[in-house]
């Protein structure tokens, strides 16, 4: 059921950017295409369905293992970890600021800081690498629980 090409969809414009979509039952939807992103509005919910979205999802899975990335455009307010420093899961390693709010960036797991890729005051873009982690055993040789 996950292959969209299996589905027959009737789409009728209702004007003013809205569409009636019939696929078994009738729904009213809206959507917009921006670059490689496709946004779909369906029953009060917004979905981002696109190659770009799938790509970024894949990328973020990899990132969680090795690097911390900026989730949105933001200013680097503080950096609490230096290269070679051992950090624990959930430890705040960095603080970003956007839209008047502080966003603490936490270590996703125990590890050692491999590199820091930004400076206090930098304006970082979404997806930009902030800091890279490596396993503690890579630095110390001790056994680390996954």
């Amino acid at each position: 059921m996950s292959n969209p090409s299996d589905h027959r969809v009737d789409v009728v414009s209702l004007g003013n950017g809205r569409y009636q979509v019939t696929q078994g039952e009738t729904r009213r939807i809206a959507f917009a295409v921006g670059g490689r992103e496709t946004w779909v509005f369906l029953d009060g919910r917004t979905y981002l369905v696109s190659d770009a979205a799938e790509g970024s999802k894949r990328r973020s899975r990899v990132d969680e293992e090795a690097a911390l990335v900026a989730p949105m455009p933001a200013t680097v307010l503080a950096i609490h970890a230096a290269q070679g420093q051992r950090v624990e899961q959930n430890e705040v390693v960095m603080v970003l600021e956007a839209m008047k709010m502080e966003l603490p960036i936490r270590a996703p797991r125990d590890g050692v800081v491999k590199s820091v890729s930004c400076q206090v005051g930098d304006l970082v873009q979404p997806g930009a690498t902030l800091l890279e982690l490596e396993d503690a055993d890579a630095a110390t040789g001790s056994e680390s629980p996954g």
Partner: protein, 506 residues
Amino acid sequence: MSSTPPFDRILIANRGEIAVRVIRACREMGIESVAVYSDADERALHTTLADRAVRIGPPPAAESYLSIDAIVSAARQTGATAVHPGYGFLSENADFAAACEKAGLTFIGPPVAAIEGMGSKIAARQTAVKAGVPVVPGETPADQSDQAVAAAASRVGFPVLLKPSEGGGGIGMKTVHDAAVLEAAIAQARREAMAAFGDGTLYVERLIERPRHVEFQVLADHHGQVVHLFERECSIQRRHQKVIEESPSTAVSRTLRQRMGQAAIAVARAARYRNAGTVEFLLEGSGDSARFYFLEMNTRLQVEHPVTEQVTGVDLVRAQIVVAAGQPLPWRQEDLEQRGHAIEVRVYAEDPARQDLPQAGTLLLYREPSMPGIRIDTGITEGAEVAVHYDPMLAKLIATGETRDAARQRALAALHQYPILGIRTNIPLLIQLLEHPRFVAGDVDTGFLDAEGDIIRSGLPSTPPAEALAIAAVARAEGPALAGIRSTGADASGIDPWSSLRGARV
């Protein structure tokens, strides 16, 4: 009200939906409006809607919307005779009100002394106490060292709340449940206070557990009349920022309303208040036996003022302008009544599935629902850029009905027909909140969202349903033909790529 406008030209020292709201009130009253804008807002709705617009600086608020000199000189340059500050930015800045007065401009708000008196938490509490209104235990340590602030927290008793002394709008407020994390919280609260208000002075207050946030709208003219326009309940808050507001409150009985309304008027009189203001209370319990504590007075129009307008039929911005011009309020307390129920939900550019992370990007598609009992106040338009420089609130949707449940159902129906595409919004969260059994029952307190938020968020759909994938596939396959729907002009010019897709097998 007379047919001669009270002012010829008003400058609006703000941006976004509130600037648009004030511009529209001006237009209705035959008053010319002057917008101010930063470089980030050159094509924003408020900039283009006003009769005139003046650039006041680069995107950072400190160099534009918080620049007193730039705004006063914009008023002089355009011949404005009055300034409406909106909310946020300079609206509660006594220096700004004083600078306006000095430049011969009427500040559409309270006198400088009232802003100063209520802006200082100590003075505001003393005023409330003098007026016979109860307050929550707390203090601003004279010695602002970390040790002294920590000592004050111990005196007041945990849990404590750390607040910027100069603040408002919940920015920079921190809850601390025990002494172990106090030091870090003090440092963070001070940094945020410094960044938002240019002053790191902290106020330490005892946290009342499971309180409701109930506030009273007041209006005072220059002829000795002070009225209240009933309550708004704003207990649905996230990080101390309001998400849903309503009037009346399910916790306020007729008797309690009378007592709280009189207390609000007493505070306003004691502060020698003029124009529109809001007296905030914490409410412990509900009904006749509930206890209330004066929290603070906001010396400006509130974000959530529309719910009051919807249940009283009063135009608060118009009333502010009339009062600022020295005219008497057009009604007395006994003329005012609360009719029906209104609920406001704030639509934020945030991703509820990712810890409410603020979102930025282009609004590829933005269409407002149009239904009975629905009002939408916004400063955005389709195609606009949502930037990181300012508050993430995109719009306020206000639903009005004969009963609370009618208003709630209307809000839900409207949110289901409110496509905002290109950035993620909190609309899915708002829908879950409005359907939550505790909200439906009116059983809420200011900790509701913190307590229930994770469960509510776990109910948000994470993967798109097959239909969404199918629609996206159509959109991708027909990409070039669909490009037209990205611009607002497409529908108007009659381009309709979809008629050809009817029955298409994809």
